[in-house]
Amino acid sequence: MNNYELMVIFTPILSEDEFKNAQKKYSELITENAGTVVHSNPWGLKSLAYPIDKKTTGIYWVIEFTADASFNEKLKIALLRDEQVMRHMVTKLDKYAVEYNAVKKSGVGFNTQKQEA
């Protein structure tokens, strides 16, 4: 089992419900494949630093989870097939990163998602 962090940029045309459903879908995909969701953080609509697919905004979602290394391939296929997803990135977290995220979750006034790009 490894610690990972997934960041997804959804298309800005999604409604609130669609965004929630998409989050639920991927959270379930993680739990179905013997993983656990540690923390989920929807950033919401945010302007992009440069246009992607001719769009200037995107809906960001960050999720921290633990899973087997073999799960990544499945997740990647699911994300690439999804037309709502503009871009995604999975980062492997080392022990310092896990520590950092734990502090950040408990800390007050430490919100990066409020900062503009």
């Binding site: 630093a49 995107g58 990135m89 990066t112």
Partner: protein, 87 residues
């Protein structure tokens, strides 16, 4: 400086440039977060290019980590690849 016998009319400048230090080592930062844009911006110039170690003073280990974090942030459109007047 007792042995310095020469007297100058105006005091000679003796300002030494401040010694650079690696802020990660000094403050014990172990992980560079690619989501923390404001922090990463300290290592970028106006055009969004990364500052060299000669200017930032980072140790090689952390310069590499900063570089990885900036590249991740660029991929996820948190930071621009090219720009003018960043900051």
């Amino acid at each position: 400086m007792a042995k310095n016998e020469i007297k100058y009319l105006t005091a000679i400048k003796q300002e030494k440039p401040k010694k650079k230090y690696c802020r990660f080592k000094k403050y014990g930062i172990k992980y560079v977060d690619y989501k923390d844009i404001e922090f990463l911006k300290r290592f970028l110039n106006e055009q969004g290019k990364m500052l060299p170690r000669r200017l930032s003073g980072n140790s090689l280990k952390y310069q590499r980590k900063v570089s990885d974090a900036i590249k991740k942030a660029r991929q996820m459109a948190l930071l621009p690849y090219v720009t003018d007047l960043l900051k």
